[in-house]
Amino acid sequence: MAKPRANRGGESVSATDQRAIKEWLAHLARGSRFWIRATLAAGIVAGVATIIQMILLARIIHLGVIEEAPVAGLLPFFLGLILALAVRALGQGFQARFAARCSEQVRRQARRQLHKHWQATGPVELGQSSAGTLAREWIDHVEALHGYFARFLPQMTLSMIVPVLILALVFWLDWLAGTFLLLSAPLIPLFMALVGMGAEKLNQQHFETISRLSGQFLDKVRGLTTLQLFGQTAGAAELIRKRSDHYRRITMKMLRVAFLSSAVLEFFASVAIAVIAIYIGFGLLGYITYGPSEDLTLFSGLLILLLAPEFFQPLRTLSQHYHDRAAALGAGNEILARLDSPVSRESSSEMASVEGAEDRIELRSVNKSFQPDQWVLRNLTLTIQKGEVIALTGPSGGGKSTLLHLLAGFMAPDAGEIHLFGQAPGSFRFGWLGQKGFLVQGTWADNLRLTTPDASDIAIETALRNVGLGSLLDSRQQGIYSPVSEEGQGLSGGQARRLSLARIFLADYHLILLDEPTAGLDSDSEVFVLEALHKLAVAGKTLIFSTHHQALLALANRVLLVSSGEVRDA
């Protein structure tokens, strides 16, 4: 059988992790204390209104049937009853509203935390995880917190408060009936644990099966073209049916056991109501000669009966929301793993002890290693004059990219100082061109204004022509206001990189760092990139790039060889 697929919400989480996740969830809850309290207050109002509704109902029936009061005399009670119903509805409505607001705030807070962590992590470390994974954490895992904060958490507290209120009232009415209720739910926490264990197991197993099933299904869908090429789609459909059926049988075996725990809750609730009804009936007949039953009236008897289901209702609701908790724990586990991942980039502003000269870039005794005893850069001291064009060359893995990342402030050195024109790395704006171009859905103008919001239309068009995207632009009807990718077809890798380069043209940075600007480009794009870099160099920008490309090396006025921890002029 296929191994369970990637860890998703609801899978088992170790005990220590669970504690950390619960702490984190509690921390989030503290941030939305107001809404949680408001939710609880509304829930309690609804609960109390329910109790009052039952009291009035029992009172009306007692007065009407036993005391044979005239209907007109009951009118105030009826009005009171309708009022109680209205209050109950308001309480329920506001509970839903406040709960939704609470979850909204919590999700916003969690997203902010994650993004803050991304920023602290820096682009290099962040690049270790796929964008899809990070987006899933930021969107789906945060969404999974919704049920926990909107439903489970308030219900958890309500299921302690409301039953206790009801129990107190029943005890006051008739302590023996109260004892029945209490006995049927021996200890509420024990009951909840029982419900919880069942629900958790159920949820976990169910989740596993579902994800296996969808894994099998998606696998076939992914390879649909291959199946079609071999004319095997009918067989594959049959296989999906067989496998699904197989999993269904396994799941059902498990569910038959798992559902027993909720059946137990159901059973106790039903039996408690039956026992209480029969006890009250016999008490009212006067058949029971001991205990408090002599004082029973239709009012107290009926009220106890009406309250009994309300006593169990919060617990039943809680058990329905139990999967929200499991989902939140699963999602919390992954979010926490992200938040706890080490942050390699120290806040660059702390290093801003300005002392370097303003006309040059200086590195003093810089060390950087990723593994102990393996220096990527060792004791590096280097000065680059403003306006120089520097090519970094050397074997792959030799430290070219690391040096660029240090200059960019994407990571901090282990030791030593870096000053760029008298400032700390990352404390001012500069141009960066990575190996992958970057574009957003939208128009050409949107894409260029991303980094230079106030650029004029003419400046944007000029920048695009500077990197050789002019002809592509001419083929689009609305010029810079036409979408970058039409009909689902994106730009080629080379075009995307040129688009990024156009942003640099537009922004007029003093310092431009480029990581292998021509690697993997088709010959057209290569020519345009070379031309563009030449223009930037002529304009007096400081350019630093890593490359093996002969033409680029020729463009540089200084070539540095970066190899085995050392940097020297080539």
Partner: protein
């Protein structure tokens, strides 16, 4: 709503199960209502008899029937609930299977071009969640709604029998209002919000992915904060729409609950008038309002389900679109080929909308038994050409005729299944001996002979237990097993080191003897033996 029809039809293909499941839900609910109503009746009756007895008057009461009924309902509620949950979960899993199989059949009939656009991981995960939304349609929506309607009718009939027609009609009116609030009302006020949710979320996902991919550039330009603030705002918009929908569902739930409770109050009020005119007894007076209070349980299931209906319809709409059959005629194959010709391309043009054509006036004749190599760097349209040859991509112009072909796509596609199942796709009737022989020639026999399961070795997620080169050779073996006379190989040796490549290339000669072979690669070293090589410019 029309979009749901094909899926509803599918669900209703199991009428027996649906009816039994519905009956079990009804039995559970009636047991619960019965337990409370009979208990209320019993307590009132005993209170009245108790008073008579206390006053020294002679009175009798039948304790056995109500006592027995109470005990019966207590047990039957538990038992029915348990059976109902087990049975209906089984139904849901069966429906899940039905829906997946139907969807798969639909997708496999749908046009290939559409699917080309929609094959990423995002699309697949959306497909999963869309299917999930449909498979709970019965349990969350159809069954509870039918149940609520049925029980409402039963209670109204009960009111007409026990009380009078007037009361029954008024109670019925209030219940219908409650039902409408809980169903159509919720649907109408949440429809648009819910339908938009999924699309909004996908837009947000795209934006987040773009943000992360551009993180270096944005950091350098000092714009991460600004861009992130925009992302937060977008996310907040999505969430607040959801909050709006949730709040509306909450208010409708409360409103529908209020009307159910009001119907109980109304029953009590008009019951008193009847009681005082001695038309109904005290215990019966109590029975109906309590039964009405019990209705709240079934009504409470509805608003949430109807609040999601808008989203469910949107899911169905997307799935229908994905399964939409293309009108594109299949490329003609085989019959009208001139003799001794394996492939004939005449004046072929390949063009994607909004782009300059990849090829125009492309002509090629490949004779039977020829070995053609096609070379071009990445982006030269090599794979597009292979797709056109194999019939996966449409021509925008010209005609293409060819013999039956086996096609090794540039991407290695293996299934989460056994090695045997993966190989048999190429030739379903192949014997184990044939499979071992082809593995031997692909230099994989040793690799799998040492596995405990041999041919039944499980190839994990997307063939992940194999190295890239091994996976490629399994895919190649599968194509070589296929009896088609024309073989198209796109980058056949990806991931193979030079020595293995040379040996495998040599072994292939024997297998491919007599067949026509078109191989495409970025460089001549990545081609198997060829008679003639075509270079793609551009």
């Amino acid at each position: 709503m029309r979009d749901l029809k094909p899926w509803l039809d599918l669900i209703f293909k199991r009428p027996g199960r649906l009816v039994v499941g519905g009956f079990l839900m009804l039995a559970t609910l009636l047991s619960g209502i019965g337990l409370l109503a009979v208990s209320g009746w019993f307590i009132t009756e005993t209170a009245l008899v108790g008073l008579l007895l206390a006053a020294g008057l002679a009175a009798t009461i039948n304790l056995y029937v109500p006592g027995g009924a109470i005990r019966l309902f207590a047990v039957s509620r538990t038992v029915f609930r348990y059976i109902e949950r087990v049975y209906n979960h089984d139904t849901v899993l069966r429906l899940l299977t039905d829906i997946r199989v139907a969807l798969f059949r639909g997708l496999s009939r749908a046009g290939r071009i559409r699917r080309g656009e929609l094959s990423g991981a995002q699309w697949l995960s959306r497909l999963t969640s869309d299917v999930d939304a449909l498979d709970t349609l019965y349990l969350r929506l159809i069954a509870p709604t039918a149940l609520a309607g049925l029980v409402t009718i039963l209670v109204v009939v009960l009111a007409a029998v026990l009380f009078d027609i007037g009361t029954a009609l008024l109670v019925g009116l209030l219940l219908v209002i409650a039902l409408v609030i809980a169903t159509a009302g919720v649907y109408l006020v949440t429809r648009r919000l819910a339908a938009r949710q999924s699309d909004r979320q996908e837009e947000l996902r795209t934006a987040v992915i773009e943000h992360i991919e551009g993180f270096s550039e944005l950091t350098a330009a000092g714009r991460t904060g600004k861009h992130a603030a925009w992302l937060m705002r977008t996310a907040h918009q999505v969430t607040s729409e959801q909050v709006k929908a949730d709040t509306r569902v909450g208010w409708h739930l409360a409103g529908s609950h209020l009307f159910v409770n009001l119907s109980a109050v109304l029953a009590l009020w008009s019951g008193f008038a009847l009681f005082q005119s001695d038309s109904v007894s005290g215990p019966v007076l109590v029975l109906l309002p309590i039964a009405l209070l019990g209705l709240a349980e079934v009504y409470a299931m509805l608003p949430d389900a109807f609040g999601k209906l808008g989203a469910t319809v949107a899911c169905a709409k997307r799935l229908n679109r994905d399964c939409h059959e293309d009108k594109q005629p299949a490329p003609p194959i085989g019959s009208e080929l001139p003799p001794k010709t394996a492939l004939l391309a005449e004046n072929v043009a390949v063009k994607y909308d909004g782009y300059t054509p990849l090829f125009t006036r492309f002509n090629l004749v490949i004779g039977e038994g020829e070995r053609i190599g096609i070379l071009g760097h990445s982006g030269s349209g090599k794979s597009s050409l292979a797709n056109v040859f194999a019939g996966l991509s449409p021509l925008s112009q010209g005609s293409l005729r060819r013999q039956d072909c086996a096609y090794l796509t540039q991407e290695t596609v293996l299934f989460e299944d056994t090695l045997r199942a993966n190989l048999l796709l190429g030739s379903p009737e192949a014997s184990d001996t044939e499979l071992w022989s082809i593995l031997e020639q692909m230099e994989l026999a040793g690799r799998f002979a040492t596995e405990p399961d041999q041919l039944d070795t499980w190839l994990g997620s997307a063939g992940s237990r194999l190295s890239g080169g091994e996976a490629r050779r399994v895919a190649l073996a599968r194509v070589l097993l296929n009896p088609a006379p024309l073989v198209i190989l796109d980058e056949p040796f990806t991931g193979l080191d030079a020595k293995t490549r040379a040996r495998v290339s040599k072994q292939m000669e024997a297998i491919l003897a007599g067949k026509t072979v078109v191989s495409l690669a970025h460089g001549s070293e990545a081609l198997p033996g060829t008679d003639r090589v075509i270079y793609l410019g551009g």
